[in-house]
Symmetry: C2
Subunit: 255 residues, 2 copies
């Protein structure tokens, strides 16, 4: 019996600066039917607060407790591990790390830095790693759908570059980290077996959720979806549907 | 019976802008004893011609036929495969590719681009790859010894980034490509079993040469060598010596 739904944001709820057709309405229908919802995103180009403001403008009013971001998870990780960050992140995300106390231990934190992925930043991060810093990946996504509608290099490529050169393995905090899915489900007291994930990334969202133990995961053919994605990663999606509206239909039909 | 010697350049012959102690003299001694020599470098921050000029200033006068560079190998590859390059290389190397005819087929060519490793260049290369271009790595070295004496990110990190995001596997043209070693040996009619390699990179120079079938490979404790390198990669070096002078002593003692 499905009781909880985890929803990706970019490519599922919105695309660029507009909500996807039927998406906001689908969220409303799921809510109305008594399902618990959490939003789990690997977007790392803005702070959690800015993302909430952006969602409100699109007509999606959610509270800070309903949204799970890798930036927040990284801040929590740094506090728990008493470490100071060496940031390779987008300028819009940097303030998520303001006010952390200075520590001797260091951790390189890599997000989708956009144009801040330059040699100077990456080499500084590499040198911190060989001097003993941990490597923290906000996400390891290969690509994202860029503003021009085409795929662009995402953080995962640069995380892999630093792993290759330093010999270290990154701790991934966002999807597909089982801890990330588990934190979102735990916040709504929903066990893995009663949960479904809906996403446009067949690897991080769908295969990731199923590997983390969720009962079901739906792939939508919006956002970064490309033909053939449903068979590209293991495990494959429970089913593949046109968009979030169709995903809501499928979920509600199961009840 | 050793008849041919392959020598790495940076970290073996020179370091920064000066020849290493005893290195030029060691090359002279190997020559005098009738050994055939070729210089095989993964340096991709300058054209072959500029590198020859630089070596001459350090007191090493060699001909264009004695020097093997990945840039030259890439130019040959592009000609053989009737492809035009999408360059991610250092500005000083770019002119190595001048004058190639325009072709429909494209190949992304990645060298040690230094500050030209920025998001714009890397994302342009990524998009060419998903549009069908081949991926050519001049080298896949993890690190190099930078001008300040510390290790810095080398081309391999960025090649790995592009492989991860595009799902393609790079064709590596420089060391440890067996074809690269073979081309240098073939140019002096020296079979693999009569050849020795001397380098400071335990992975690309030493393990690479042994995997390519060379009889022996010596690791020198100069350049990018770090303690423990002799046991870090398989196969391990035939022996590890202080520098090129000691390598020449070892080689001459075998005869």
């Amino acid at each position: 019996m499905i009781r909880g739904v985890l929803l990706d944001l970019a490519g599922v709820i919105y695309d660029g600066d507009h909500a996807l057709p039927g998406a906001i309405d689908a969220v409303g229908r799921l809510h109305q039917e008594g399902l618990k919802l959490r939003f789990v995103t690997n977007t790392t180009r803005s702070t959690k607060q800015k993302l909430l403001t952006r969602l409100a403008k699109l007509g999606l009013d959610i509270s800070t407790d309903e949204l799970f971001t890798p930036g927040q998870a990284a801040r929590d990780w740094l506090t728990a591990h008493e470490s100071s960050p060496v940031l390779v992140v987008h300028p819009n995300l940097a303030q998520e790390f303001d006010g952390l106390p200075a520590r001797e231990k260091r951790a390189v934190v890599v997000g989708d830095a956009g144009n801040a992925f330059d040699y100077t930043h990456l080499n500084r991060a590499f040198r911190a790693l060989i001097d003993g810093a941990e490597l923290i990946a906000l996400a390891k996504n290969r690509t994202f759908k860029d503003e021009d509608g085409r795929l662009s290099l995402d953080a995962g490529a640069f995380v892999t570059a630093l792993e290759y050169a330093s010999g270290k393995t990154a701790t991934v905090l966002g999807k597909p980290s089982p801890d990330f899915f588990a934190a979102a489900l735990s916040s709504m007291d929903c066990p893995l077996e009663d949960a479904v994930m809906v996403g446009d990334d067949a690897e991080a969202d769908v295969a990731g959720a199923l590997r983390a133990g969720l009962a079901e995961a739906l792939l939508v053919r919006t956002g970064k979806y490309r033909e053939g994605d449903e068979t590209r990663f293991e495990p494959p999606p429970t089913t593949t549907v046109a968009d979030l509206a169709a995903a809501a239909d499928w979920i509600l039909a199961q009840r």
